[in-house]
Amino acid sequence: MTDTEIMVGSGMKVSVSRDELVQKLSIVSRAVSTRTTVLVLGGILLRAENGELSLAATDMELSLRTTLDAQVDGEGAVVVPGKMLVELARLLPDEDVVIEHRAEEGVVRVDSGAYSSRLHTYNVEDFPRLPEIGAVGTFSVDKDALLDTVSRVSRSASRDESRPVLTGILARFEAGKLVMAATDSYRLSVKETPMEGEAPELEAIIPARALTEVTRIASAADTLELGVQENQVVFVAGGVTLTTRRIEGQFPNYRQLIPESYEQVVTLPRNDVLEVVRRVGVMAQRNSPIRLRFTEGELTVSAQTQDVGESHESLPVGYVGEPMEIGFNADYLRDGFESVTGDDAEFKLISPLRPAVIQGESDDFTYLVMPIRLPST
C-alpha cells in the first residue's frame, strides 16, 4: 500500500485559511500536468485527515505534496481540476474557506463568504500512487551545501533530449562528501562537497529540472531530507515533499575527461576576467568563438562576428612561455567563471585543441570546457 492510497470517506469537509491555501496550492501546482492524455494528472489531490488538509499533484515526472492546518469536519479525499482551483482560490473574498466533497453529486463545493462554487471532480482511485516516504526512509543532508552544489553544476546539464542521460545531474553520496556532476558534452561541472550526516553511499541521476524545484522548495526551509528509491528520489523540505523519477542510463565517466596534467596553469583575477569575458563576448554571436590569447604577462580577449563587429580587451596576467591562442563558446566560458568562487581562478591549459579547466581557489569545483578550433591555428 502506498502513501496516497486511502479510504474514500463519507465526504471530505474542511475549513482552511484562504491565504495558507493559496500559498500551498502555489507550491504543488508546479507539478500539475498539462498533458492531455491522462486527465486526472491535471488535478490536485486533496485529502483531509488528522487535522490537516494535504495537497498533492504530479505530472508523472515530478510530484509535489504539502499540508496545511485545517479544521476537519469530514475525512476523505478528492481530486479537483488543479488549474481551476488555483485560479479561484486566489480570488476568494473571505479568509475562511470551506471545502466540501459531495460524493453523491460528484462535485466539490468551495465556499468563502457569500461566494459559493461547485467544481467537478476526478476519480480518486485514478490518481497516481505517489512513492511512499517511509518505505525506504530518508536521511538528512546539509541543505546549504546541497543547494550550493546544485546551483554550481546545474547549468552544465543538457537541455537537448537527444542524449537524455545528460539532462540529469549525477549525484553521488560517498563517505563524508557529496559529488555532483553535470555535462552537456561541451562542458562539465563537477563539485565535491564535504557533508556531515548519516548519508549512505548511493548514486542516482536526477533530472536537472527536479533539482531546480528542490532549490525552490528548500531555500527557505531549515532542513532537507533525501531518500533514494529504486525508481524515484524523494526530497523533503519545509513541509513539502518532492519526488522525481530517476533518469536511467550510464552517466559519462567524467573522471576520464579531466586531464591529469597541464602545460599551463594561469592564475586569473576572477572578477576582472569575468567582466572582460562578458563585455567582449557581446561580439561573439552566431557561434563565433571568443578568443583568449596568452602572451608573456598578458591576456587578450577578443571576439568578432562577420557583419556585426569586433571587440578586444587586454589585462595583465602572470603568463610565462610561448604565446597560446585558444577559442571557446563565449557563454560556456562565462558560465565557468561565474560558477567558481573566490578572488582568483586557476585557468589550466594543455593546448588550443584540448579541453581547458577552470577552478576556484577555495573549493573543490571543476569546470571543464571544450575549446572551439580557431581558423589558422
Binding site: L41, E61, E161, T167
Partner: protein, 361 residues
Amino acid sequence: MDSFDSVPEQPEAKRLLRAALAEGPAHAYLFHGPPGVGKSLAARAFAAELIGDRDRVLRKAHPDVYELDRVGDQIRIDDIRSLRHDLHMRPFEAQRRVYLLEDAHTLNEDAADALLKDLEEPPSYAVMILIADELGPLPETIRSRCQHVPFRRLSERAVREALEAHAPELAPSTVTALARLAGGRIDRFARLLEPESARRRESLLELARDVYRDPSFDPALAAEQVIAAAAEFGDRARKDAEKDLERFHLTQRDADLRLRRAQRGAEREELLASLEELAAWYRDLVVVATGAERAAIHSDRLDVIAEDATVERLLAAERACELVRQAWRELEEFNLNAALALESLFIRLRRELAPNLVYDS
C-alpha cells in the same frame, strides 16, 4: 481469462501476445491492420497484462502507460522528443513502462529517424507499442526493429456480437444492417448509433436513388449535401475537442492544430463512411437483382432495393458501385478537393445509371 477477452477475434495476434507475456516481452511491437479491428483495444489489454494493474490501465489512469500525444496530423519530431524525455526516466510506480504510439503510420520522416535508436535499445523496463493502420508509410528501418503483430478485418459475426453487446436495445434486423454497414470496423459504432444517424443515412440513400429516378437530379447539389453532412461531424468533433482543451495550458498554435486535426479527421472519416454506404447501395442492387438478397448490406431496406434492382439496371449498378469505390480510394489516398471529386462522381453515376433522363438545367 485475461484482458484480451474484450478484443474480438484476432486469434493470431492474441496467440503472439499471450506467448510474449509467457516468455517475456520484446522491446518493441508493431500492431498493424485495418482501422477499427481492435488494435488499440489489444494494445491496452497487452499493457494491462504487462503492468499488472489491469483496471487502472484499462481506465486509462495508470501513470506507467505513456500515450504519445500527437498535436497535428502527423507525429512530429517534437512528439518523439517528449517521448524520449519520458522514456529515459524510470517507471513511476510499476516495474514496467509501456509506450503507446497510436497512428504510427503518420510518423513523419524526422520523427521516424528520431525514434530509431530508442526502438533498437530502449531501457530494460520499457515496452513500445506502435499501432499502425498500414505498413506502407513506415520506413523499413522502423518496421524491422519491431515484432509484428498482424490484425485482420473482423468477420460479420464478430462485429454483430460486438454491436449487440454495445447496444442491446437494437432490433435484430437493425443489428444485421448496421453490422454490415460497419464494414468490419468496430470503431464505426459510434457513428452508426448516434441519434442523427438514421436520418442521415435516409437522405444519403435518397440521393443514391435520385441519381436514377429524379429527372431534375443535380450532381453539384448532391455533392454539397454529402459534404455538409460530413462537415456537421467535423464541427461536432471540433466542439468536443474545444471542451477538452479548456482543461489544459496549450500554446495557441498547439491548440489550433489539435482542433483542426479533430475537425478534419472526423470530416474525412464521415465522408469515407458515406461513400462506403453509397457503394453498398449500388452493390445491393446487383446482389438483389441476381437473387442473393441474403447478402445485401442495407438489409433493412430490402423492399426498396427489390423495387429498384431491375435486371436492366444490373450492369450499370455494378459500374456505379465501382465508380464510388474508385472515388473512395482517391479521397482516401490523395488530398483532393472533396466537393469537386464528389460532383464529378455524381455526374458519372448519373451518366451510368440514367443516361436517358434529361438534365433539367
